[in-house]
Amino acid sequence: MKLLEQILNELGADTLKSFTVIPSFGGYFQCVRSIAEYSPQKILLVLKKTVVTIEGEKLEIGKYFEQDIFIKGNIKVINVD
């Protein structure tokens, strides 16, 4: 994680707006303002300036608190608009 934070900082990115995906397990998303759509196949997360579309199979919200969300399931596609 330290390496990732270092890379993001050097690139001038905000670590709080990053997300992590582990194939066939799930993903952890930060800075989520709201959930625009939720189904086991598709989840739409609204961030401050972007919308993240997550597509996959058996998607479930494992934990959602404040601006952090953990999505369980097999994530196959992520679109950032």
């Binding site: 709201s34 959930i35 939720y38 919200i61 934990k63 608190f65």
Partner: protein, 296 residues
């Protein structure tokens, strides 16, 4: 470990999640089941969640209470059962420290009344605390019983088991019944290892009188047992011995004729009566006659 309550609500997942997020309620394990949106929250947030979705259209309900709440609910509905269980466990724990039964096993079980008496003497009794029992002394006293070669006292639950083994050679060769006097005399000593002394020192006894009874008294109860012990009876006897003449050698032989096995002469005197062809030594003596039972 977080205590989670499962909530079911008729609402869109997006709407429910956004409302919960605004109220800063942590949401776990969300899933959709038809029109219902099911999620878990920390049990402490349950009132908050019901306040958020207080409108009837949400049809919110608790699907599964948290573990603590379920345990409390289970306990509240089964107070009698729990009180009974606690009472049972307490009773089992307390009764385990008590002796409720004494059992004597092994080839030496024919000595049970005597063993039971020793065990009672050393502090063990039915419905009495085991801690009051002096096991080492009891074991020593039991081992001192005739023919006992092995003794082990152990407590299994509430039962005190005394395992006693005797010398196989002597087993089944025990003399049953009481020790009876085979002569008239005065009791000088009586030792009852097992059983009960029937006479006291100084008592006059006749042939056939009991000296040691084959029973023992435990509390107020009389129980049969093996009589083990010995008694010494002082008796008076007169012996006449014929000799051709009165001399020292003949007197020695006259005295020698008095010696009988198991007897110890304590006092003696003699008179010499002349008779046709010689003399008669009349020897009067008192002796200790020893009788024993099951002491071999």
């Amino acid at each position: 470990m977080t205590d989670l309550t499962v909530i079911s609500i008729v609402s869109t997942a997006e709407n429910a999640l956004n409302r919960l997020k605004k109220a800063e309620v942590a949401v776990f394990n969300c899933k959709k089941e038809g029109a219902e949106f099911i999620f878990s929250i920390k049990s402490k947030d349950i009132k908050k969640v019901f306040a958020i979705f207080n409108k009837p259209c949400y049809n919110i309900k608790v699907k599964k209470h948290g573990l603590i709440r379920r345990i409390l609910s289970f306990a509240a509905l089964r107070v009698g059962l729990l009180v009974g269980a606690v009472a049972f466990v307490a009773l089992a724990a307390v009764s385990n420290s008590f002796v409720l039964k004494i059992e004597v096993s092994g080839s030496g079980s024919y000595l049970e009344p005597e063993i039971r008496r020793i065990v009672l003497d050393e502090g063990a009794a039915e419905f009495k605390s085991f801690s009051a029992f002096n096991g080492a002394t009891a074991t020593g006293r039991i081992l001192a019983l005739p023919q006992v070669t092995y003794c082990n006292i152990l407590k299994k639950g509430s039962v005190l088991i005394v395992d006693v083994q005797v010398d196989e050679e002597h087993y089944a060769s025990q003399e049953q019944g009481s020790l009876l006097s085979d002569c008239d005399g005065v009791v000088k000593n009586v030792v009852a290892v097992c059983g009960t002394a029937a006479v006291n020192v100084g008592d006059a006894v006749k042939r056939g009188d009991a000296l040691i009874y084959a029973h023992t008294v435990i509390g107020e109860e009389q129980q049969s047992c093996l009589a083990v012990g010995y008694a010494e009876i002082e008796l008076y006897r007169t012996v006449e011995y014929f000799a051709d003449e009165d001399n020292e050698q003949n007197l020695k032989e006259a005295y020698a004729s008095c010696l009988i096995e198991n007897e110890q002469i304590t006092e003696r005197k003699h008179t010499v009566k002349p008779t046709e062809g010689g003399v008669i030594y009349v020897i009067e003596f008192t002796c200790l006659h020893k009788l024993s039972i099951n002491l071999n």
